[in-house]
């Protein structure tokens, strides 16, 4: 099964991932285009409400560290790279490499010999 997977350039899982990713990216691009045409800022809602709360309370809000310009993009990319690796690794461990009998072996039915002993 693993050998068969290696022969395939894009297996079904990768295809589903790519299609889902492109659906999201196209939706984001279309939204961004609309917002750009209509001169919308596209700020985060959290930031907007934080600004509003800061003005009403007459205080300055701030993050622990500021990530100016592309550093925010870099931080998010690095975080998401490793998140992706970790999710992929554990996903494979939990969903792909687990046989049905391994899952069932975790449970002993109450009427079975093991449960009675």
């Amino acid at each position: 099964m693993i050998l068969d997977d290696r022969k395939v350039f894009l297996d079904p899982f990768v295809k589903v991932c790519l299609i889902t990713m492109f659906i999201f990216l196209i939706a984001i691009f279309c939204s961004a285009f609309y917002m750009d045409v209509h001169k919308m800022a596209g700020n985060g809602t959290d930031d907007n409400v934080n600004d509003m709360a800061g003005q009403v309370a007459n205080v300055q809000h701030h993050t622990l560290i500021n990530l100016p310009g592309d550093t925010q993009l870099g931080a998010f990319s690095i975080a998401n790279l490793f998140v992706g690796l970790m999710v992929g690794y554990t996903w494979r461990k939990i969903f792909s490499e687990t046989k049905k009998e391994d899952v069932e072996a975790q449970y002993i039915q109450p009427d079975s010999k093991e449960a009675k002993t």
Binding site: S31, M40, N43, V83, I108
Partner: protein, 236 residues
Amino acid sequence: MHIEDGILSPAWWLTWYAATAAFVAPGLREIRRRIQENLYYKPFLAMVGVAVFVISSMHMPCPVTGSCSHPCGTPLAAIIVGPFATVIISIIVLFFQAVFLAHGGITTIGANTISMGVVGTFVGYGLWKLFRYFKSPVWLAAGIAGFIGDLAVYLTSSLELALNLLHGGHLPFFRQWMIFFLGYGPTQLPLAIVEAIFTAAVLQVMISRRPDLIPDFAPAKSAVPVNPATASIGGK
């Protein structure tokens, strides 16, 4: 819902820290119990933790309002890893987001945990249990949990901001609360729909692939878990 440092007064952020602390011990107990029940729980919890981290920092644009916001992921996490364990996940997630991604704040981890990790979690989990009790289909129960759980997070964040102005604000408390919520609401509504679809889809996949990981769908309710000390997993 990522309230930043400097907005909440010390009295309020300490209050929210104290409220969050009350959930830590039950959260650790739930994790310990679930590890005993299912040997796959540990890697599963790790996977859900990093998934909540990325979901709650994934900004999606809303062209109607011209701003961006993010789903929360905690209603889904509550259903699959347990509500108290989700509170622990939320604390860790919010800490890393505050320290490394300039999202939220250190003094506001308590307040942000109460909104995202406690209210979003327990509202979502409660609705899931309620709908499942009445034999609702998985997609509907999960969708409602995701949708209402998401909005509940932002309703709570608005409440926290309004409570901060309880003494010294110029507007009546309820009006101030609704003004803050309207700051979030229009952008969050379509994202709550996205969260509902996402929650329903992930749960459907999980129940079909690994029902043993979801407490309500485990092989047999009366089954006795094997002693972890003697059980072997996947021949590893």
